[in-house]
Symmetry: C2
Subunit: 98 residues, 2 copies
């Protein structure tokens, strides 16, 4: 299981333009076979800082996502309104033994 | 509903010391009434970069968490092994209307 935090920094004056693009991306991504969860959040203190909390079956599932038609079409449109480069954190859950 | 990402940057040589402290923190926090979810992840590319993905009923629930005995006791012990200041992102979920 692969967890990913993907952060976008969108021009705060362009949020209304970007939200429908995010909506299409979220809806299409959640239908992917390897997608376990894909949630979009918005920073309460920094408007335009959007954070995806993602869970994928494995790296192959994430590669399939990045290669998908919807990702390749929508992400460049979203990035056109970025004010700084995105940040990506690939993670695994820490599972404690009792 | 309040989402929070809390990031710690722990000295990679001290991870084995910190993990039992995290375990106690996770177990006690999940029993709090206002805690919806509390997951600890570890950055696959940057050892020592730990990321909590948290979900709270509201700000009051988070305040109660921070004031709790287990938080006040364990977090300073964990922070003693930090190599840089933590990062905290307070968020709300973006819910799309269909």
């Amino acid at each position: 299981m692969l967890k990913l935090i993907a952060e976008d920094f969108i021009d705060p004056t362009k949020i209304e333009i970007v939200l429908p693009l995010y909506q299409e991306l979220v809806n299409a991504t959640r239908k992917e076979a390897g997608c376990i969860s894909y949630e979009l959040c918005h920073d309460l203190k920094n408007p335009g800082h959007f954070v995806f909390i993602e869970e994928w079956q494995d790296y192959d599932a994430l590669d399939t996502h990045v290669a998908s038609e919807h990702f390749q079409r929508l992400v460049p449109q979203i990035n056109a309104y970025s004010i700084k480069e995105g940040r990506f954190t690939h993670m695994e859950s820490v599972l404690f033994k009792d």
